[in-house]
Symmetry: C2
Subunit: 278 residues, 2 copies
């Protein structure tokens, strides 16, 4: 199959590597000449260009740009596409993307492959990035079921685990497990930094795995955090408000020295957590 | 040297193993006959008993019981000790322990070896548990400097990193890096569990490393969480209140769509976090 990949970063590049290794013909588009050059040199793609006209025979196009560039990118490439070409994206928020892009292109299917590394860019592209990763597709009532089936088959060929759900449900779920943790975790670092130098110095020396793990996503890439907050704002605020209620409950119980009820919460959570880990 | 270890669990047992391997003579005390039997069979100690009278020639005694048992244990063993014997404990909160125990025994020095595993009990005791771990001692104005020096030398012989500080400073620092993270993390699980079954189900399926790390300490042993909250209550409440302020700030910025200031927070925290990781 002829497949287009627009945006040759970590996700686009890694998709290209795996799909090309399956025998598909890969047409890569990047804004930068140098990225096209690297993609060709590393044999990540069959053809690379800064000009979208090379997409004219593709059956499926993956738009792998940052979220804010998805809709403008689609507007730019559609003059070159067959009307039957399926466009999908890889953005980590779906509702605003699907709303806009399905207006631009009838055969658009929102997608979110939940894989990544700490690295980014074409240099970080690697084979087998999607093995065992969740890959969510968010069709709406107008989406062609055949397009969804074809994308699902591609996800399976990457050894990813496909899920089909409503865009809103997706955004709400990822708010809990991905976007809320960033804000919870970064607030932990902020509050520690607020203490006096003597305490802060000792805290830094004594910190070990508990602090390391709880602060990890909050000390990550600021751009990603902003992107989550901006594009999934309503769902993130909803989960932040519920989170604050849960936190307030814990504070109230500790103030009241109500150890039985606090223990009940800790026990419930100890039992529930393994169900989030597959 | 003749060293007593009272409480042969993970910490006491592991201390015994390392100190005995250095050639010290180890006298182990447990409330349970079976634990004494295992400690002798595994050659963790030279002598083991449920009766504290075997401590009568020891120069240093490590009290390795849960926090609530430290003071009663000391009251029970002191009739058998030389007046010059140094007593130290291994509790993870120091202010209330030091306050009580230094009244009971002049030569008491609070201690906190910051090592552990998910396991507990004599079965989990292992060699080299303290390598590279922080080991805090919290003398007060009446503590003998010689006693502190002897304990520091023992910590160094375990390849741990000794710190000497005030008990209150210790409790405040560990509240930030150990006790607050538990409450922050468990509240994350509580709030997720509050959503509708459909969302919760998808959240469980999609959760990956971000949720796993941020929820880890909050889904841990409930008894430990309660112990922290009970014995370090004032410091934990102080850091929880500061934490809630940091969280409220994040919520306010997202509500106001003030992305510049939110990015500033995320950038500060990205830069600060590595200083907590050694």
């Amino acid at each position: 199959m002829k497949i287009g990949i627009v945006g040759l970063g970590l996700i686009g590049g890694s998709l290209a590597i795996d799909l090309r290794s399956q025998g598909h013909q890969i047409f890569g588009i990047s804004r930068k000449e140098i990225t096209c050059k690297i993609a060709l040199e590393r044999k990540i793609v069959d053809l690379a260009s800064t000009n979208s006209n090379i997409l004219n025979e593709t059956e499926i196009v993956f738009v792998c740009t940052p979220i804010k560039a998805i809709a403008p990118t689609i507007e730019q490439i559609i003059p070159h596409l067959h009307s039957q070409t399926i466009i999908t994206d890889v953005g980590s928020v779906k509702q605003p993307v699907v709303e806009t892009c399905s207006q631009l292109w009838a055969n658009f299917v929102g997608g979110h492959p939940m894989a990544g590394t700490a690295e980014s860019g074409i240099e970080a592209a690697q084979s087998n990035l999607f093995v065992d990763a969740s890959y969510v597709f968010t069709p709406d009532k107008n989406t062609s079921p055949e397009a969804v089936e074809r994308l699902k088959a591609i996800a399976l060929s990457l050894n990813a685990v496909p899920y089909i759900c409503d865009a809103k449900i997706h955004d709400r779920a990822v708010s809990w497990i991905s976007h809320l943790p960033v804000m919870v975790s970064t607030s932990l670092i902020t509050s520690c930094l607020s203490d006096e130098p003597e305490i802060l110095q000792l805290a830094k020396q004594l910190a070990s795995s508990g602090f390391r793990d709880t602060s990890r996503v909050g000390g990550g890439n600021p751009e990603l955090g902003i992107m989550m907050a901006k594009y999934n704002r309503a769902e993130l605020l909803r989960s932040l408000v519920k989170y604050r209620q849960s936190l307030d409950k814990v504070i109230t119980l500790i103030e009241a020295e109500n150890w039985d009820n606090l223990e009940q919460i800790l026990q419930t959570n100890q039992q529930a957590r393994p169900k989030f880990l597959n």
